[in-house]
């Protein structure tokens, strides 16, 4: 039987982990597998981190690494860290027009954000991790997280704008 600590750990974190996995894999069965695999690695490794913050960061980091490790994914994921530095932020439309739109649009638009920016942006929007924790989870400097969030938001806005234009009546 799983220990009480392990059960509490699963109950505390499986939902945000699943949502993170879902944003990576974009389908529920794969996200379930990835989430389960992450906890099994924890169980197998016998981790005994008592600090919940560290446990959470470990779980997110491990899930992300497992995602990258998947052979098929690894072929499709670009060598992210080898990408050239982003040029100037793309022009971003005003944010207000998306507030109050139907739910689900963001998830449709997120795949259009470069993966380099999408991962930290997803972690940010899950609101489970601070700047510093995202930096730890992705093993990049805080300054890099800051710039990737800014650029990711700009790309997301642009993607949302395209979707909004594409779904307007005159374009239907």
């Amino acid at each position: 039987m799983p220990t009480e600590d392990f059960t509490l750990l699963v109950k505390a974190h499986y939902k945000p982990l699943f949502r993170f996995a879902y944003s990576l894999t974009r389908n529920s069965p794969d996200a379930c597998d990835l989430t389960q695999q992450t906890f099994l690695i924890w169980a197998k490794s016998g981790h005994a981190l008592r600090d919940d913050g560290k446990s959470k960061s470990w779980l997110f980091t491990t899930l992300y690494r497992e995602y990258l490790r998947g052979a098929r994914r690894a072929q499709r994921v670009e060598a992210l860290e080898d990408l050239p530095p982003a040029e100037a932020d793309p022009p971003a439309p005003e944010a207000d027009s998306y507030v109050g739109r139907r739910t689900g649009v963001v998830l449709e638009a997120m795949p259009e954000v470069d993966e380099l920016y999408r991962i930290p942006l997803t972690l940010f929007y899950l609101q489970e991790s601070s700047y510093q924790e995202i930096s730890d989870q992705l093993d990049v400097p805080i300054g890099t997280v800051m710039s990737r969030l800014a650029r990711g938001k700009a790309q997301l806005r642009a993607a949302l704008s395209r979707k909004q234009v594409g779904s307007s009546p005159q374009n239907s």
């Binding site: 039987m1 799983p2 392990f6 059960t7 699963v10 109950k11 499986y14 939902k15 699943f18 949502r19 879902y22 944003s23 389908n27 529920s28 069965p29 794969d30 379930c32 597998d33 989430t35 389960q36 695999q37 906890f39 099994l40 169980a43 197998k44 016998g46 005994a48 052979a71 098929r72 005003e94 944010a95 207000d96 998306y98 507030v99 109050g100 739109r101 739910t103 689900g104 649009v105 963001v106 998830l107 997803t122 940010f124 929007y125 899950l126 609101q127 601070s130 700047y131 510093q132 995202i134 997280v145 800051m146 710039s147 969030l149 800014a150 938001k153 997301l156 806005r157």
Partner: protein, 250 residues
Amino acid sequence: MKIEEAKSILHGYRPNGADAANPHFREALALSRNDATLRAWFEKQQAFDQAMSADFEAIEVPESLCDAILSAADAAAAETPRSQWWRGRLAIGFAVAASIAVILTLTLTLKSQAPQSAAASPLAAFVISDAQHPETHGGHGEEAAALNRLLKLSTTRLSDPRAIDFPVLHDTGCRTLHLESRDVLEVCFKRNGAGLHYYIARRTDFPNLTAPSAPAIADHAGVSIASWSDQTYLYLVVSPTGRTALEKIL
């Protein structure tokens, strides 16, 4: 601090207020209170970020996922019982004595690698647990779809020899479970109205498990599992509704 620098920092300020006490944001927040332009920008950012976060929060998590994780961990623990004597509250002297016993026991166990029936193994418990949560399943990929079509045919006997290409199934997206870092493929199919789950594991991944060459059915609390093997693979088919559904198609 300049406005642009403050904006860069405030991009990371979570809209749920979790960063309110984080000193990293203190100066930028103070500047936003005193600078009308920055304040307006920040308010728009927060509204935008809040709307985006709400979408992530709306991602539905399968209700059974928590139980599935705990069951899988249970099965994995049964597969490789861990000696965690060092976490106990035993006195040091007792721990030393116990450690010697544990080491001896482990040594003997590892050397013996006693064969175990696949039908009564942790692998069986693992797939039975998985089969009881079909809402987390899903066939993926062309090869898995082709196998699904074959398994659905009324003329197909499950135990008939067939060419299974594990790597191709795996690489083309067949649902893959992980038990102690070992891959187990799964394909769902229906026969005679019953939902069944076909699992394939590499024998090399489970060298101590044995299974007959002809299918044998075992029952576990209302769930039936047929297991057999060939030279390369172990096959397990789980029927959550009992053995009748299996007996008709093996």
